[in-house]
Protein backbone atom coordinates (compact mmCIF):
# COMPACT_ATOMS: atom_id res chain seq x y z
CA UNK A 1 0.00 0.00 0.00
CA UNK A 2 2.88 2.36 0.85
CA UNK A 3 4.37 1.83 -2.60
CA UNK A 4 1.02 1.73 -4.36
CA UNK A 5 0.10 5.33 -3.63
CA UNK A 6 3.22 6.59 -5.38
CA UNK A 7 2.56 4.39 -8.38
CA UNK A 8 -1.05 5.62 -8.54
CA UNK A 9 -0.01 9.30 -8.38
CA UNK A 10 2.54 8.51 -11.09
CA UNK A 11 -0.13 6.94 -13.32
CA UNK A 12 -2.32 10.03 -13.00
CA UNK A 13 0.71 12.23 -13.74
CA UNK A 14 1.59 10.19 -16.84
CA UNK A 15 -1.98 10.26 -18.18
CA UNK A 16 -2.45 13.99 -17.53
CA UNK A 17 0.87 14.94 -19.13
CA UNK A 18 0.07 12.81 -22.16
CA UNK A 19 -3.56 13.89 -22.58
CA UNK A 20 -2.68 17.55 -22.06
CA UNK A 21 0.00 16.97 -24.73
CA UNK A 22 2.65 18.57 -22.51
CA UNK A 23 4.78 15.56 -23.55
CA UNK A 24 4.42 16.51 -27.21
CA UNK A 25 7.45 17.86 -29.04
CA UNK A 26 5.01 19.89 -31.15
CA UNK A 27 3.48 21.61 -28.13
CA UNK A 28 6.90 22.65 -26.82
CA UNK A 29 7.90 24.04 -30.22
CA UNK A 30 4.56 25.88 -30.47
CA UNK A 31 5.11 27.30 -26.98
CA UNK A 32 8.59 28.66 -27.79
CA UNK A 33 7.17 30.17 -31.00
CA UNK A 34 4.44 31.89 -28.91
CA UNK A 35 1.82 30.45 -31.25
CA UNK A 36 -0.50 28.96 -28.66
CA UNK A 37 -1.64 29.69 -25.13
CA UNK A 38 -2.05 25.99 -24.29
CA UNK A 39 1.28 25.28 -22.55
CA UNK A 40 1.35 28.65 -20.77
CA UNK A 41 -2.20 27.97 -19.54
CA UNK A 42 -1.16 24.56 -18.17
CA UNK A 43 1.86 25.93 -16.30
CA UNK A 44 -0.08 28.92 -14.95
CA UNK A 45 -3.04 26.90 -13.67
CA UNK A 46 -0.68 24.30 -12.14
CA UNK A 47 1.20 27.06 -10.30
CA UNK A 48 -2.00 28.81 -9.14
CA UNK A 49 -3.36 25.47 -7.88
CA UNK A 50 -0.06 24.88 -6.11
CA UNK A 51 0.05 28.36 -4.55
CA UNK A 52 -3.49 28.00 -3.18
CA UNK A 53 -2.84 24.48 -1.93
CA UNK A 54 0.46 25.37 -0.23
CA UNK A 55 -1.10 28.45 1.39
CA UNK A 56 -3.95 26.31 2.78
CA UNK A 57 -1.40 23.76 4.08
CA UNK A 58 0.65 26.53 5.74
CA UNK A 59 -2.26 28.49 7.27
CA UNK A 60 -4.22 25.50 8.53
CA UNK A 61 -0.99 23.75 9.55
CA UNK A 62 -2.15 20.61 7.80
CA UNK A 63 -0.16 17.50 8.75
CA UNK A 64 1.10 15.01 6.21
CA UNK A 65 -0.14 11.44 5.81
CA UNK A 66 1.97 10.26 8.77
CA UNK A 67 0.79 13.12 11.00
CA UNK A 68 4.06 15.05 10.71
CA UNK A 69 4.16 18.79 9.98
CA UNK A 70 4.54 19.56 6.29
CA UNK A 71 7.75 21.36 5.39
CA UNK A 72 8.35 23.12 2.10
CA UNK A 73 12.05 22.73 1.43
CA UNK A 74 13.72 25.96 0.29
CA UNK A 75 16.07 25.86 -2.68
CA UNK A 76 19.61 26.87 -1.78
CA UNK A 77 20.26 30.56 -2.51
CA UNK A 78 22.43 31.59 -5.44
CA UNK A 79 22.22 32.85 -8.97
CA UNK A 80 24.79 31.52 -11.41
CA UNK A 81 23.74 27.88 -11.18
CA UNK A 82 20.08 28.73 -11.76
CA UNK A 83 20.67 31.01 -14.75
CA UNK A 84 23.35 28.93 -16.44
CA UNK A 85 21.90 25.53 -15.57
CA UNK A 86 18.47 26.81 -16.57
CA UNK A 87 19.71 27.91 -19.99
CA UNK A 88 21.41 24.54 -20.59
CA UNK A 89 18.21 22.72 -19.72
CA UNK A 90 16.11 25.11 -21.85
CA UNK A 91 18.30 24.35 -24.90
CA UNK A 92 17.73 20.61 -24.42
CA UNK A 93 14.04 20.99 -23.59
CA UNK A 94 13.38 22.82 -26.87
CA UNK A 95 15.60 20.49 -28.93
CA UNK A 96 14.03 17.16 -27.94
CA UNK A 97 10.74 18.62 -26.73
CA UNK A 98 10.69 16.87 -23.39
CA UNK A 99 11.72 17.53 -19.84
CA UNK A 100 12.76 14.68 -17.50
CA UNK A 101 9.18 13.57 -16.66
CA UNK A 102 8.08 13.21 -20.29
CA UNK A 103 11.29 11.34 -21.22
CA UNK A 104 10.10 8.50 -18.97
CA UNK A 105 6.43 8.87 -19.91
CA UNK A 106 7.15 8.68 -23.66
CA UNK A 107 9.50 5.76 -23.17
CA UNK A 108 6.74 3.95 -21.28
CA UNK A 109 4.34 4.78 -24.10
CA UNK A 110 6.66 2.92 -26.46
CA UNK A 111 8.58 5.66 -28.30
CA UNK A 112 11.83 3.74 -28.60
CA UNK A 113 14.09 6.60 -29.79
CA UNK A 114 13.48 8.22 -26.38
CA UNK A 115 16.00 5.73 -25.00
CA UNK A 116 18.71 7.83 -26.69
CA UNK A 117 17.46 10.92 -24.88
CA UNK A 118 17.42 9.01 -21.58
CA UNK A 119 21.00 7.79 -22.09
CA UNK A 120 22.03 11.34 -22.91
CA UNK A 121 20.25 12.69 -19.83
CA UNK A 122 21.94 10.12 -17.57
CA UNK A 123 25.30 10.94 -19.13
CA UNK A 124 24.63 14.67 -18.69
CA UNK A 125 23.79 14.09 -15.04
CA UNK A 126 27.02 12.11 -14.70
CA UNK A 127 28.99 14.96 -16.33
CA UNK A 128 27.56 17.42 -13.82
CA UNK A 129 28.53 15.13 -10.96
CA UNK A 130 32.03 14.84 -12.37
CA UNK A 131 32.63 18.59 -12.83
CA UNK A 132 30.46 19.89 -9.99
CA UNK A 133 33.34 21.30 -7.94
CA UNK A 134 34.88 23.08 -10.93
CA UNK A 135 31.66 24.83 -11.96
CA UNK A 136 30.61 28.25 -10.66
CA UNK A 137 27.49 28.06 -8.53
Amino acid sequence: MKALKYILVGIVFGIVLTKSEAVSWYRIYEMFEFQSFHMYGIIMVAVVTGVIGIQIIKRKKIKDIKGLPIEIIDKEPGSTRFWVGGIFFGLGWALVGSCPGPIFILLGAGFLPMILVLFGALFGTFLYGLFKDKLPH
Binding site: K5, I7, V9, G10, I11, F13, G14, V16, L17, T18, K19, S20, E21, A22, S24, W25, Y26, R27, F32, E33, S36, F37, V45, V48, T49, V51, G53, I54, D64, I65, D74, K75, G78, S79, F82, W83, V84, G85, G86, I87, F88, F89, G90, W93, A94, L95, V96, P100, G101, F104, A109, G110, F111, G120, A121, F123, G124, F126, L127, G129
Partner: protein
Protein backbone atom coordinates in the same frame (compact mmCIF):
# COMPACT_ATOMS: atom_id res chain seq x y z
CA UNK B 1 -17.14 10.21 -22.18
CA UNK B 2 -15.87 11.69 -25.43
CA UNK B 3 -13.73 14.30 -23.66
CA UNK B 4 -11.39 11.60 -22.40
CA UNK B 5 -10.15 11.01 -25.94
CA UNK B 6 -9.84 14.68 -26.88
CA UNK B 7 -6.94 16.93 -25.94
CA UNK B 8 -7.49 17.80 -22.28
CA UNK B 9 -7.97 21.55 -21.88
CA UNK B 10 -5.18 23.54 -20.21
CA UNK B 11 -7.29 24.48 -17.18
CA UNK B 12 -8.16 20.82 -16.43
CA UNK B 13 -4.60 19.60 -17.04
CA UNK B 14 -2.97 22.41 -15.08
CA UNK B 15 -5.27 21.82 -12.13
CA UNK B 16 -4.55 18.07 -12.13
CA UNK B 17 -0.76 18.64 -12.32
CA UNK B 18 -1.08 21.00 -9.34
CA UNK B 19 -3.04 18.32 -7.49
CA UNK B 20 -0.40 15.68 -8.25
CA UNK B 21 2.19 17.95 -6.64
CA UNK B 22 -0.05 18.62 -3.62
CA UNK B 23 -0.62 14.87 -3.22
CA UNK B 24 3.13 14.29 -3.06
CA UNK B 25 3.51 17.13 -0.54
CA UNK B 26 0.73 15.51 1.53
CA UNK B 27 2.71 12.25 1.40
CA UNK B 28 5.57 14.21 2.99
CA UNK B 29 7.61 14.35 -0.24
CA UNK B 30 8.46 16.89 -2.93
CA UNK B 31 7.76 17.21 -6.63
CA UNK B 32 10.75 16.86 -8.94
CA UNK B 33 11.38 14.46 -11.78
CA UNK B 34 15.03 15.18 -12.61
CA UNK B 35 16.19 13.91 -9.20
CA UNK B 36 15.43 10.44 -10.57
CA UNK B 37 18.24 10.81 -13.10
CA UNK B 38 20.68 11.26 -10.22
CA UNK B 39 19.19 8.27 -8.39
CA UNK B 40 19.51 6.10 -11.51
CA UNK B 41 23.17 7.12 -11.82
CA UNK B 42 23.74 6.32 -8.13
CA UNK B 43 22.06 2.91 -8.51
CA UNK B 44 24.81 1.82 -10.88
CA UNK B 45 27.37 2.26 -8.08
CA UNK B 46 28.85 5.49 -9.44
CA UNK B 47 28.98 6.80 -5.87
CA UNK B 48 32.24 4.94 -5.32
CA UNK B 49 33.95 7.00 -7.99
CA UNK B 50 32.09 10.33 -8.01
CA UNK B 51 31.15 11.91 -4.70
CA UNK B 52 28.01 13.55 -6.11
CA UNK B 53 26.42 10.12 -6.51
CA UNK B 54 27.43 8.91 -3.08
CA UNK B 55 24.09 9.43 -1.34
CA UNK B 56 21.28 7.28 -0.03
CA UNK B 57 19.33 6.81 -3.27
CA UNK B 58 17.11 4.27 -1.55
CA UNK B 59 15.50 7.21 0.27
CA UNK B 60 14.44 8.35 -3.22
CA UNK B 61 12.81 5.05 -4.16
CA UNK B 62 9.34 6.59 -3.79
CA UNK B 63 10.20 8.99 -6.63
CA UNK B 64 11.28 6.12 -8.88
CA UNK B 65 7.87 4.55 -8.19
CA UNK B 66 6.19 7.79 -9.31
CA UNK B 67 8.20 7.57 -12.54
CA UNK B 68 7.27 3.92 -12.98
CA UNK B 69 3.61 4.84 -12.61
CA UNK B 70 4.04 7.74 -15.04
CA UNK B 71 5.50 5.37 -17.65
CA UNK B 72 2.48 3.11 -17.28
CA UNK B 73 0.16 6.14 -17.40
CA UNK B 74 1.82 7.26 -20.63
CA UNK B 75 1.33 3.79 -22.09
CA UNK B 76 -2.38 3.75 -21.20
CA UNK B 77 -2.97 7.30 -22.47
CA UNK B 78 -1.20 6.75 -25.80
CA UNK B 79 -2.67 3.33 -26.56
CA UNK B 80 -6.21 3.57 -25.19
CA UNK B 81 -7.08 7.25 -24.87
CA UNK B 82 -5.92 8.75 -28.15
CA UNK B 83 -7.87 10.26 -31.03
CA UNK B 84 -6.98 11.42 -34.54
CA UNK B 85 -7.98 14.94 -33.52
CA UNK B 86 -5.15 15.17 -30.96
CA UNK B 87 -2.23 17.61 -31.12
CA UNK B 88 -4.12 20.16 -33.21
CA UNK B 89 -1.42 22.82 -33.07
CA UNK B 90 -1.55 26.24 -34.71
CA UNK B 91 -1.63 25.94 -38.56
CA UNK B 92 1.07 28.62 -38.65
CA UNK B 93 3.31 26.37 -36.57
CA UNK B 94 2.68 23.48 -38.99
CA UNK B 95 3.62 25.68 -41.95
CA UNK B 96 6.82 26.76 -40.21
CA UNK B 97 7.70 23.13 -39.42
CA UNK B 98 7.19 22.20 -43.07
CA UNK B 99 9.90 24.73 -43.94
CA UNK B 100 12.25 22.91 -41.56
CA UNK B 101 11.06 19.66 -43.24
CA UNK B 102 9.51 18.37 -40.04
CA UNK B 103 6.27 16.39 -40.55
CA UNK B 104 2.89 17.66 -39.26
CA UNK B 105 1.33 16.01 -36.18
CA UNK B 106 -1.90 14.54 -37.66
CA UNK B 107 -2.80 13.16 -34.24
CA UNK B 108 0.76 12.07 -33.34
CA UNK B 109 2.53 13.37 -30.23
CA UNK B 110 6.00 13.35 -31.79
CA UNK B 111 7.33 14.06 -35.30
CA UNK B 112 8.57 11.02 -37.22
CA UNK B 113 11.43 13.20 -38.45
CA UNK B 114 12.97 13.03 -34.99
CA UNK B 115 11.30 10.11 -33.23
CA UNK B 116 10.30 7.60 -35.91
CA UNK B 117 12.17 4.31 -35.70
CA UNK B 118 13.91 5.22 -38.98
CA UNK B 119 16.08 7.68 -37.04
CA UNK B 120 18.22 4.76 -35.84
CA UNK B 121 19.68 4.78 -39.38
CA UNK B 122 20.58 8.46 -39.21
CA UNK B 123 23.73 9.31 -37.24
CA UNK B 124 22.76 12.99 -37.29
CA UNK B 125 19.41 12.36 -35.62
CA UNK B 126 20.87 9.92 -33.10
CA UNK B 127 23.35 12.66 -32.21
CA UNK B 128 20.58 15.28 -31.90
CA UNK B 129 18.66 13.12 -29.42
CA UNK B 130 21.75 12.26 -27.36
CA UNK B 131 22.98 15.87 -27.24
CA UNK B 132 19.46 17.03 -26.29
CA UNK B 133 19.49 14.49 -23.49
CA UNK B 134 22.93 15.58 -22.26
CA UNK B 135 21.77 19.23 -22.15
CA UNK B 136 18.70 18.16 -20.15
CA UNK B 137 20.63 15.98 -17.70
CA UNK B 138 23.50 18.42 -17.20
CA UNK B 139 21.26 21.51 -17.10
CA UNK B 140 18.69 20.14 -14.65
CA UNK B 141 21.33 18.99 -12.18
CA UNK B 142 23.31 22.25 -12.50
CA UNK B 143 20.09 24.23 -11.93
CA UNK B 144 19.02 21.62 -9.34
CA UNK B 145 15.61 21.10 -10.89
CA UNK B 146 13.49 20.95 -14.03
CA UNK B 147 9.99 21.97 -15.03
CA UNK B 148 8.37 20.07 -12.17
CA UNK B 149 10.81 21.04 -9.42
CA UNK B 150 11.30 24.71 -10.38
CA UNK B 151 8.42 25.84 -12.62
CA UNK B 152 5.67 24.09 -10.65
CA UNK B 153 6.93 23.29 -7.13
CA UNK B 154 9.39 26.19 -6.82
CA UNK B 155 7.14 28.91 -8.21
CA UNK B 156 4.16 27.61 -6.18
CA UNK B 157 6.17 28.16 -3.02
CA UNK B 158 7.47 31.60 -4.14
CA UNK B 159 11.13 30.67 -4.38
CA UNK B 160 13.32 33.25 -6.09
CA UNK B 161 15.96 30.73 -7.30
CA UNK B 162 13.19 28.88 -9.14
CA UNK B 163 12.11 32.05 -10.92
CA UNK B 164 15.70 32.57 -12.10
CA UNK B 165 15.85 28.97 -13.30
CA UNK B 166 12.51 29.21 -15.15
CA UNK B 167 13.59 32.42 -16.90
CA UNK B 168 16.79 30.53 -17.81
CA UNK B 169 14.70 27.63 -19.23
CA UNK B 170 12.93 30.08 -21.52
CA UNK B 171 16.09 31.89 -22.59
CA UNK B 172 17.60 28.53 -23.56
CA UNK B 173 14.42 27.36 -25.27
CA UNK B 174 14.04 30.53 -27.30
CA UNK B 175 17.70 30.45 -28.41
CA UNK B 176 17.22 26.83 -29.54
CA UNK B 177 13.97 27.23 -31.51
CA UNK B 178 14.72 30.64 -33.00
CA UNK B 179 18.46 30.56 -33.68
CA UNK B 180 19.74 26.98 -33.61
CA UNK B 181 16.84 25.12 -35.29
CA UNK B 182 17.34 26.89 -38.64
CA UNK B 183 20.99 25.74 -38.54
CA UNK B 184 20.36 22.07 -37.80
CA UNK B 185 17.10 21.29 -39.62
Amino acid sequence: MDFIFQTWPWYVSGFLIGMVMLCLIYFGKTFGMSTNLRSLCAMTGLGKKVGFFDFDWKAQRWNLLVVLGAMFGGFVAVHFMGDASNVSINPKTIAQLAQLSIDAPNGKLLPDTLFGNAIFQSPKKILILIIGGILIGFGTRYASGCTSGHAIYGLSSFQLPSLKAVIGFFIGGLIMTHFIFPLIF
